[in-house]
């Protein structure tokens, strides 16, 4: 069984590297022992930012075992073992979990893990600490026994619900962009089901209004720009906030746009607002540590607590895209105010739950106050909903045009 699995892996990876090699960036990472002579001890194959599992198994002479269901892979080395679940970003070792930036998965037929597996999971298997030197593209391994597993206990796992939820997952195919770097847009009609959202004086429900606008926008984006559009809900049912972000992440969306209708304590308040995520000073401070770890596949931390670090990485996922999110918000706000002649209440930043963890430029737009009687009436008009959708298409086109070429892709995780 074990041998069969390893052979399968190798055959699969050889087969694929032959067939679709040209579309993928294939590089290698050299392995070096810090304690030993420092000479090369092998290399790992990196395909488009992910490491081929087969090359890890052979480079470190690991033993593997697959459970009867065929979706659980145990890697066993001199230092211990870890377990991976197909389609899940979790690494399990000694009863603790670590969360990878992407799942262990078959991406274009190639079974692979994201780069951070090397520092998060591998140390517990080979019993050595692991440091990634990005400049040299080298993996530096510490002395025997220095490797440890920095996981979280299962009770911390609910923080990662959006990484784990995989219902809406569609396998990643890297197609040519349909509209200047834009391939997939995820639209999120706010609320739904038991969550009505805001309610207008004559009974208009936010959840119905925003679904209608989202569907119009979906049609326009598909017809005009030819991009793929995924809705986080297509009817009146409840979808959790983290689940919405997960749908965007799992679809590898290039943009995430959450569509809401606003409310105020005073009826007179009206106009348009666009929001993107805010971070507090303490968030930013903590994220610096996390980013060092995440980007450079970091130093084997000693004093740093992994559970905290993992939580920060999740909360901070949007930070990497915050400038783009700000620009997108500005374009949306401008388009709404100009084309609909509404009151400009500005672009704002707030800790919006639905935007946290989004790994792409992400915005929440409030298309008007249904608590304002006049605006409630206009929002119900089909023609006005079309105008809103049209303004949002224009905003997305403007945003995309103003991107530095290649910027959107470079910022992808």
């Amino acid at each position: 069984m074990r041998h069969f699995f390893v052979v399968t892996l190798l055959v699969v990876s050889v087969f694929l590297s032959g067939s679709s090699m040209n579309a993928w960036a294939v590089t290698t990472i050299n392995l070096e022992n810090i304690s030993g002579s420092g000479k090369r001890a092998g290399s790992l194959k990196v395909i488009d930012g992910r490491i081929d599992i087969g090359s890890i198994v052979s480079a470190f002479s690991l033993r593997t075992s697959v459970d009867i269901m065929g979706d659980r892979l145990d890697l066993v080395g001199d230092g211990g073992s870890c377990r991976l679940l197909l389609g899940s970003p979790l690494v399990l070792s000694r009863g603790l979990f670590a969360v990878l930036t992407e799942p262990f998965d078959t991406v274009n037929g190639n079974m692979s893990v994201p780069l951070d597996f090397l520092t998060k999971g591998l140390p517990s298997v080979i019993g050595k600490s692991v440091v990634f030197d990005q400049q040299k593209q080298s993996l530096l391994m510490g002395p025997e026994g220095s490797g440890s597993f920095k996981g979280v206990s299962p009770d911390k796992l609910d923080r990662y619900a959006s990484f784990i939820q995989r219902d809406q997952f569609e396998p990643y195919t890297r197609e040519e962009s349909s509209y200047g770097g834009l391939r997939v847009v995820v639209l999120d009609p706010g609320h739904g089901g038991r969550s009505d959202g805001a309610r207008g004086g004559t009974g208009t429900l936010e959840k119905n209004l925003v679904l209608s606008v989202s569907q119009k926008l979906k049609n326009m984006l598909e017809e005009d720009l030819g991009v793929k559009v995924v809705l986080t809900r297509t009817a009146d049912y409840y979808v959790g906030l983290k689940e919405r972000t997960a749908i965007a992440n799992n679809n590898r969306a290039d943009l995430f746009l959450s569509i809401h209708a606003n409310a105020a304590f005073r009826k007179e308040v009206r106009g348009y607002e666009t929001y993107y995520l805010s971070f507090s000073a303490s968030d930013l401070e903590a994220s610096q540590l996390a980013q060092i770890e995440n980007r450079a596949l970091g130093v084997e931390g000693d004093a740093r607590e992994t559970p905290l670090l993992e939580a920060i990485l999740w909360d901070m996922a949007q930070l990497e895209f915050i400038n783009e999110s700000g620009k997108l918000s500005a374009h949306i706000q401008e388009a709404l105010v100009e084309s609909l002649k509404g009151r400009d209440r500005g672009v704002r930043q707030a800790p919006l739950a639905v935007l946290m963890g989004a790994r792409m430029p992400a915005t929440l737009v409030e298309i008007g106050f249904i608590s304002n009687p006049a605006q409630e009436i206009t929002l119900n008009r089909d023609s006005h909903q079309n105008s809103i959708a049209r303004a949002l298409v224009d905003a997305i086109v403007d945003y995309n045009r103003n991107l530095i070429p290649g910027e959107a892709m470079e910022n992808r995780p």
Binding site: D71, I164, S371
Partner: protein, 189 residues
């Protein structure tokens, strides 16, 4: 290749189990109720103090202050009184309330620089919704506490004795938040 396909299918099953187990775990791990504040015996008499309450301005674009005198004694009692004043709404005509009517404070608990403010569950059910109204509610509570009581660095809002993801679907209150004093100037960035 067959194997790989089979693995993908089974992966979905196991992930469903993972999700289920998380849900079960969440259900089983009960929330530890926040102890209500009880005034200790033999403490000193209340002292009057002027605090700034954070309401919304009439235009609904920024937070605005109203000074009010409360009798304070200890952080928890003081926070409780301030939030109660906030819940009562503004007295100045040109200010707007930031909380729905009829909401009460269940308890206040202070530990390690964080004030836990537990409000009755009608804060959610009576809330008008909308990012704007929710922002006002959250930051009028947080700012009123952090800007008046230096001991409090961050505020965790609880609803009906429980930690909630949001009040009405927008602003994340699942963790303690620091104040944003610049909202007084209408600076929302």
């Amino acid at each position: 290749m067959k194997k790989v396909l089979k693995m993908l299918g089974a992966g979905a099953v196991v992930v469903a189990l993972v999700i289920a187990s998380i849900v079960i775990y969440r259900l089983m791990s009960g929330y530890e109720p926040v102890p209500s504040t009880v005034r200790g015996p033999g403490t000193a008499l209340d002292e009057p103090r002027v605090i700034d309450l954070y309401f919304a301005d009439a235009d609904g674009r920024r937070l605005a202050l109203e000074a009010r005198e409360v009798m304070v004694q200890g952080v928890e009692e003081s926070v409780l009184q301030s939030v109660s004043e906030l819940l009562a709404g503004p007295r100045k005509k040109n200010l707007s309330a930031t909380l729905p009517e009829g909401v009460g404070v269940r308890s206040v608990y202070f530990r390690d620089g964080i004030a836990y403010v537990d409000l009755t569950s009608n804060l959610s059910s009576n809330h008008p919704g909308g990012s704007w109204a929710e922002l006002l509610t959250v930051y009028s509570i947080i700012n009123t506490i952090t800007e008046n009581f230096a001991e409090v660095a961050r505020v965790q809002i609880l609803i009906g004795g429980r930690e909630r993801e949001t009040l009405a679907g927008h602003i994340d209150i699942s963790r303690p938040l620091p104040g944003r004093v610049q909202l007084l100037a209408g600076d929302w960035r």
